[in-house]
């Protein structure tokens, strides 16, 4: 007896929901960044589940690609956050309004 495909998809969907709500609620840039990582992980879980249940290795390869994109995002995103903090002394996204005027 093992869990069905539907239960993996449900877990994936719940984690994605929590991540999406978190991106909207969080105001500091690092919190938003972490919620985006959570959403990426939820999608990875559904890829692996489909790959297992349909016996296709493509899903796992795509997880590998998504992880590389997440690593690249971490490097560049945290660089942006550090530069922003250096200029504004805050990581609150509400302070990122220099283009408004």
């Amino acid at each position: 007896m093992e869990p069905s495909l539907a239960s993996y998809l449900a877990l994936s969907g719940i984690l994605f929901t929590i991540g999406a709500v978190g991106v909207i609620y969080k105001r500091n840039a690092i919190g938003m960044f972490m919620c985006i990582e959570l959403m990426l992980n939820a999608v990875n879980l559904s890829f692996v589940a489909f790959s297992r249940y349909y016996s296709d290795v493509t899903g796992q390869l795509f997880v590998f690609v998504v992880m590389s994109v997440a690593a690249a995002e971490a490097a560049v995103g945290l660089g942006i956050i550090i530069t922003f903090f250096r200029n504004k002394l805050s990581v609150d996204v509400d302070d990122a309004s220099i283009l408004r005027n």
Binding site: Y25, N41, A74
Partner: protein
């Protein structure tokens, strides 16, 4: 057995995810997120995907979260101040959450109802040998593209976090104005 493990780690992952969103202190959020990653790695093990599970621990819990925790320490962030404007975001966030949850339950219902009897879970798919063989034969081009993407990310991060010599820049501007 696999079912029991799945539900234990699924509950752990959801609890850690909620605590990640709930905590105001970014460091607590980061530690909860590490809990989510480790729980998901265990869920991958119940899916017979040991390679993905190990890469998940190495890349996410090992590399990305260390970087995030390092940045939190470096910037010495204090707790978020309470939301005083943009109050309508609460409504938007709640509505989005409800829509996504409804969608999740619909997917669960639809997949359970139309269960394909021919689905045979295959344990050999997730093995490192098969992934490696596919990665370096059929999917060679995506792997190369990923390599170039990582190179671009390295260069971009270096350029971004380099300290500009502000004094010299101002000097150039002054000269032009004269």
């Amino acid at each position: 057995m696999a079912t029991a493990l799945f539900f234990i780690f699924a509950g752990f992952a959801i609890a850690c995810a909620i605590s990640c969103v709930y905590h105001k202190n970014p460091l607590y959020s980061a530690i909860s997120l590490i809990g989510v990653f480790i729980a998901l790695a265990c869920v991958y093990l119940t899916l017979a995907a040991p390679f993905i599970a190990v890469v998940q621990i190495l890349v996410y819990a090992g590399a990305i979260m260390v970087l995030v925790v390092f940045v939190i320490m470096l910037l010495n962030l204090e707790e978020e101040s309470p939301l005083n404007r943009l109050r309508y975001l609460y409504g938007i966030g709640g509505a989005l959450g409800l829509v996504l949850l409804a969608q999740t339950f619909f997917i669960f219902y639809a997949v359970t109802k139309n269960q394909d009897k021919n689905l045979k879970p295959d344990d050999s798919v997730g093995q490192t040998l098969n992934i490696g063989a596919a990665m370096y034969t059929e999917y060679l081009l995506p792997v190369e593209i990923v390599g170039i993407l990582l190179l671009m990310a390295i260069i971009g991060a270096m350029i971004m976090s380099r300290r500009l010599r502000r004094a010299k820049l101002e000097l150039v501007v002054d000269n032009k104005e004269e």
